[in-house]
């Protein structure tokens, strides 16, 4: 054997919720990178670990029930396996969900790719008294099967040994034969022969390719249309499908799935001697309370209320602490002799542009950490799926599923993590629509502006009413925009709603912390540049030319504000406030501080009271509520959607709605006789 280390690629494939992420983290530790699958919003994680002489590159495939292009996740898996097949597949099963998981296992077995099967959650199976005959599974599947507990690391050494064995001797596997009706067998065989004769085709078993083509969906993922003769094969597949359907009298996809799952049921029975009772007593009792027709929803809102309270009690104070640290740093930098020697414009660029931008990015870290700790606790515990169950009917009216409600609600804390959290949603359509709706939820930064302004402009009892009205307006905006997006079919075709209810589990602290850390890193890598650029643009507008005070009439922003007056006059918004709105793009809480600067210092409250009527103030607040969320939100939308079109739509719809609503408020108010 040579001393050279060889690298192999192993793909981790499993249906959702089998502990794939947990196993991936166990195998690769911190040696992983998170990116995206080409052109889509699904995360792509790759990690490395050593296996004797081998450097293993472990690719975490998205959770998929089947190799077929029905969902975005499954399309990715199909394309990956067909176009860039790995050396070995590591297939993970949930011991309590064998039947459903084996459907995918059998497809993988048919592919002819060397496969190792790991049966996870053996601890739960044991606790439930479920005895799994691993040898029988291995015998019937013709491939190594290893029982593991990904959570504790039990069985991982055996799993690695099995992987190594298959890497070195892939030929020892004897995948099972799934029996189909004779007409199917016959047609598959003949089509397989045609596929075999093609000059170029995926290096997988030709019967699997034939079966995929016969389903008549997503052929381009399977056969490259540029390969001569592939078009004819696809046509032939369609003809043969009609032949089969004429005999079996049902859609081919049904026949195909029936045969596969009959085999899966047989295997699961073989391995467990009976189809196990999946739901445990604890889950039954918890569900009876948490999903109760009357108490389920109040409990859900109570839980969400507590979550938001935790965010307000821990997240925002931490954010403030980081802000003040940053302010101290900023003060120290300002006093620094070498910086003081710089030309004023350059110095201002460094301090008010770059350093301020870095400050915006950094102050999000603690907030993101708190958010994603809570989010992954909710996810890992199994409660998110229950919440989705409770809220689905209402969210369906907006064309979304129940999970999206959680994102929008968390947006009332802060829009940025709420947008990032759309990744947990189940389809491209839902992710896009949710991230377009989140910015209308009234986040804490906007709340600060509203509390400050309404305290100045209104009597205390009216101020409370105004705040309540703004919350109601925010809610209304979410619903209205949701309905419009649904009618316009933004985000493409919604996928049907199918959600497995996972068992309740105690989330693993390590996974929760790792997730928070990964989210912060992703935010830093993907959104930071855009945030920094946004802050610099605002700096440029408000600080150039340098010989006038920042934000004053002479600056670019001031001039822009004045030339936009024709747009803002009908809203009762003076150019000074227009400039403050531009500042607000950095972060909404800056609006107030910037007003002080723009108005040239002095007692801000008195000045506002003098210059702005209550109606004008209300119109300004409505505009602030609805217009472009802060640059960090815009950057997260860009990072999550990978689409400038969606990002532009988000900014555009916010501005348009803000203008319209403020116009109605201001002109309506004037008609009613207010000033």
């Amino acid at each position: 054997m040579t001393e050279q280390r060889r690298s192999v690629t192993v793909a981790l494939a499993a249906i959702p919720n089998t502990g794939k992420t947990t196993l991936f983290n166990q195998l690769t530790g911190a040696r992983q990178s998170v990116g995206n699958w080409a052109g889509v919003t699904v995360a792509r994680r790759v990690g490395h670990f050593e296996l004797g002489d081998y450097d293993v590159e472990l690719v975490d495939l998205p959770g998929a029930y089947s190799i077929s292009p029905t969902t975005e996740e499954q399309r990715i898996v199909e394309r990956y396996l067909m176009q860039t097949p790995p050396d070995v597949v590591l297939n993970l099963l949930d011991a309590r969900n064998l039947y459903r998981g084996l459907g995918l296992t059998l497809q993988l077995a048919m592919s002819g790719l060397p496969t190792v099967v790991a049966v996870n959650m053996m601890d739960e199976a044991r606790r439930q008294g479920l005895d799994i005959d691993i040898d029988a599974l291995s015998r019937h599947l013709g491939m190594p099967v290893v029982p593991i507990v990904a959570r504790s690391g039990e069985g991982l050494e055996q799993l690695k040994a099995a992987l190594r064995e298959v890497i070195e001797h892939p030929e020892t596997e004897h995948p099972p034969h799934i029996s189909f009706p004779p007409v199917v067998e016959e047609q598959v065989m003949e089509l397989a022969r045609r596929i075999d004769a093609l000059p170029e085709r995926p290096p997988l078993d030709e019967s699997l390719i034939a079966l995929q083509l016969l389903k008549g969906e997503g052929e381009q993922e399977v056969l490259d249309p540029r390969v001569p003769g592939s078009g004819a094969v696809v046509e032939e597949a369609a003809r043969r499908r009609r032949t089969i359907e004429a005999v079996t009298g049902q859609p081919f996809a049904t026949t195909c799935a029936e045969c596969r799952f009959n085999a899966a049921r047989g295997l699961a029975m073989e391995a467990t001697h009976a189809l196990p009772r999946v739901r445990d007593a604890v889950a039954n009792r918890l569900d009876a309370v948490l999903l109760h027709p009357l108490f389920g929803l109040p409990l859900f809102f109570l839980i969400m209320f507590v979550l938001l309270q935790v965010i307000y009690a821990i997240g925002f104070p931490l954010q403030d602490a980081v802000s003040s640290l940053f302010a101290a740093l900023d003060g120290w930098l300002r006093a620094l002799a070498p910086l003081r020697a710089l030309p004023p414009l350059l110095r201002s660029f460094l301090l008010d542009g770059l350093v301020a931008g870095v400050g915006v990015v950094v102050t999000f870290f603690p907030l993101l950490a708190v958010f994603f700790v809570l989010m992954s606790v909710m996810e890992g515990s199994g409660y998110i799926a229950r919440a989705a169950f409770l809220m689905d009917r209402l969210m369906h009216a907006l064309g979304l599923d129940g999970k999206a409600f959680i994102n929008i609600l968390l947006g009332y804390g802060c829009n940025v993590p709420a947008v990032m959290g759309t990744r947990i949603l189940s389809s491209h359509h839902n992710r896009i629509v949710a991230m377009l709706l989140v910015p209308f939820s009234l986040c804490s930064a906007r709340l600060q502006v509203f509390v400050f302004l309404s305290a100045i402009l209104f009597a205390p009892s009216t101020a409370a009413l105004v705040l309540f009205g703004l919350y109601a307006g925010s809610f209304l905006a979410v619903v209205l925009v949701g309905l419009v997006l649904k009618a316009l079919r933004i985000g493409g075709r919604p996928e049907p709603f199918i959600m497995e209810l996972p068992p309740y589990r105690v989330p693993l602290l390590r996974s929760v912390l790792l997730r928070a850390w990964q989210e912060i890193r992703a935010f830093l890598r993907r959104a930071a540049t855009l945030i920094l650029s946004g802050v610099v643009v605002v700096w440029l507008l408000t600080h150039v030319p340098a010989d006038v005070p920042p934000g004053s009439a002479g600056t670019l922003a001031g001039r822009l504000g004045q030339s936009l007056a024709f747009l803002f006059q009908p809203l009762g918004i003076h150019w000074q406030e227009t400039v403050a709105l531009m500042f607000g793009f950095i972060a909404k809480e800056i609006v107030i501080g910037s007003m002080a600067v723009i108005h040239g210092g002095g007692d801000l409250a008195a000045q506002i009271e003098r210059l702005v009527t209550p109606l004008q103030g209300l119109s300004f607040m409505v505009f602030t509520l609805l217009y472009t969320p802060c640059v960090a939100t815009v950057a997260s939308i860009q990072a999550e959607s990978h689409s400038w079109k969606v990002t532009a739509l988000s900014v555009g719809q916010g501005l348009a709605l803000a203008w319209l609503a403020s116009f109605l408020v201001y002109q309506g108010g004037r008609l009613l006789g207010y000033a």
């Binding site: 999946v278 569900d287 409770l390 009917r393 199918i498």
Partner: protein, 153 residues
């Protein structure tokens, strides 16, 4: 019997076919929900939708009843109220649910577990049952029918 049962909690039925070859059907097939599988309706969401559906050997699944409109599922057992009015025929009482007063009254009609009866066409939204050849017709409202668990005889 081909009439579609209403997806009321407690209903058990066996999938006959999906009625179409759309995206939802393909989805269902891929997660192992295939013809011949026995489904149990566990519960419905607070606004009547979605539906939690359990099946042997695997985790339960949440679906929207609207998306299941073309599913054909053979009634195996469940509350009488899950049966549409058109599902006339012979049935057997499996169990009586609900409070003592209710069970006593229903048992008073002769509807005890194990007893067979004929379901006649409904009238004015009330289920009409005949227990013996010349026994009087028993009328049950929706509420009572929801707590009478029956199976085809």
């Amino acid at each position: 019997m081909t009439a579609r049962p209403v997806l009321l909690p407690g209903t058990q039925c066996v999938i006959e076919d999906f009625g179409d070859d759309g995206a939802l059907t393909r989805h269902l097939l891929e997660i192992g929900i295939t013809p011949g599988l026995q489904l149990t309706i566990v519960r419905r969401g607070p606004f009547g939708d979605p539906v939690e559906v359990a099946m042997p050997g695997t985790h339960s699944v949440v679906l929207r009843s609207g998306e299941l409109a073309s599913l054909r599922c053979r009634f195996v057992s469940g509350p009488l109220a899950a049966l549409p009015c058109s599902a006339t025929g012979r049935y057997r009482v499996r169990a009586l649910q609900g409070g003592q007063r209710h069970t006593r009254r229903v048992a008073g009609y002769g509807l005890r577990p194990g007893r067979e009866f004929s379901l006649l066409p409904c009238s004015r939204g009330r289920y009409r049952l005949r227990i013996g050849a010349d026994a009087p017709v028993v009328e049950l409202g929706r509420g009572e029918a929801a707590r009478l668990i029956v199976e085809p005889a």
